[in-house]
């Protein structure tokens, strides 16, 4: 077992921990950040697996675009929520 093996094993452990905790965390924002980390670690693992094409693509698509879209959705949800709350407040005041 050489150093690379140890490194690989560490990454594997990390990726499993990230995957499980991204599913288990209650807070959605935290969950998304963990998921982003998961993607980055995955792309490092793919470098170790002699697949640089995959690493580049996963870093750009998984950690980049997917995460941007997820964050954007979260922000939009927040906006909708705020909008609805304001409307409701106005309604209450009207009553």
């Amino acid at each position: 077992m050489n150093a690379l093996d140890v490194f690989q094993l560490m990454l594997l452990g990390l990726v499993v921990i990230c995957g499980v905790s991204a599913c288990l965390t209650k807070n959605l924002l935290v969950s998304l950040i963990i998921f982003m980390a998961y993607s980055v670690i995955m792309s490092v693992i793919w470098v170790l697996l002699e697949a640089p094409d995959l690493a580049v693509t996963e870093a750009a698509v998984g950690a980049g675009i997917s995460s941007i879209l997820l964050f954007l959705t979260l922000k939009k949800l927040q906006d909708i929520r705020k909008e609805v709350r304001d409307e409701k407040q106005e309604e209450d005041e009207g009553l």
Binding site: K26, N27, L29, D53, L72, K75, K76, Q78, R81
Partner: protein, 302 residues
């Protein structure tokens, strides 16, 4: 001056914190939850709805346990298979057979691509990749169906946009970073047959650069380049070119004809026959689609 900046920062921090609420807790809106179903109601529902209708605590309590159990069963089932597989990384595993030998050994001469992965996906197994770019197109069309708002009402509120645009850190960083990101994306696309990357990765990077630009400087600055019309026309043109080119080469291949595209000298930038133009077409489609996703999500139009 200083205090003003401070409030701004703290405001932003608070906004950041606000988004960390667990979004699952429903708003106290008009009837938040229907009343607990009566037994007769329950009888008239199909089984799965009956399970869903069960709001009592007991089911909620065992639900996570059931889920965990399913996860355990699933992983045990799959692990059982994995343990019986030959050890990974060995040179005599089934996947490393004559198929791989030809892809690596002959690939450079047959496709002209130094990067054999590009050769495999754009020449040997080009039909898969043709399907793949259409997956992206289908998803883009589906997202348009879902979120395209016919009026301009879907735009984000102006004050929010102002905050983003006033941000000096973002603007200055973007000024420096965006050119490099775009350049890198173009490099990855054009270099797809020579090194790691290709149309998909490069297109995604390009799309990321465009998104960053739009966040920092607003959509208006991009509107002249990317609007609804140019978005649709470019994507349709690229996909048609892709389908037609591949159809031509499939047709030639199946009927034993020579194509007019030569493979050139492996290693040169203008080589590898159709792979370079295909990478460019795919890159454009991916970049535009990614930007389109962002724009449609954000403001309901492109």
């Amino acid at each position: 001056m200083k205090s003003k900046k401070k409030t701004k920062v703290s405001e932003r921090l608070r906004a950041w914190d606000q988004s960390s609420f667990d979004l699952t807790d429903a708003l106290e809106l008009n009837p938040p939850l229907p009343k607990a179903p009566t037994p007769e109601d329950r009888e008239s529902l199909p089984v799965i709805d009956r399970i869903e209708a069960r709001q009592f605590a007991g089911f909620r309590k065992i639900y996570p346990w059931l889920a965990g159990l399913l996860g355990l069963v699933m992983s045990a089932f799959l692990l059982l298979g994995v343990l019986k597989l030959p050890p990974y990384g060995a040179a005599d595993n089934p996947p490393h057979n004559e198929v791989m030998d030809r892809y690596v050994g002959e690939g450079m001469h047959e496709t002209g691509a130094v990067n054999t992965v590009a050769g495999v996906i754009l020449d040997y197994r080009a039909f898969d990749t043709l399907g793949e770019s259409h997956v992206l197109y289908t998803a883009a069309a589906a997202v348009l169906i879902l979120l395209l708002s016919s009026s301009r009402k879907g735009e984000e509120p102006p004050e929010l946009r102002r905050i983003m645009e006033d941000d000096p850190i973002l603007r200055n960083t973007a000024k420096v970073v965006v050119p490099f990101v775009l350049l890198f994306g173009v490099y990855i696309i054009l270099n797809g047959h020579l090194g790691p990357g290709g149309g998909f990765a490069g297109g995604a990077i390009l799309g990321g650069g465009l998104i960053l630009y739009a966040i920092a400087f607003g959509y208006e600055s991009l509107e002249r380049l990317i609007n609804d019309r140019s978005y649709r026309v470019t994507i349709a043109a690229c996909l048609c070119f892709y389908s037609a080119a591949k159809c031509y080469s499939f047709y030639c291949g199946a009927n034993g004809l020579e194509t007019i595209f030569s493979t050139g000298t492996p290693g040169a930038i203008l080589s590898a026959g159709l792979i370079l133009p295909l990478n460019v077409a795919v890159g454009l489609v991916v970049a535009l689609t990614m930007y389109g996703f962002y724009s449609v999500f954000q403001r309901g139009r492109i």
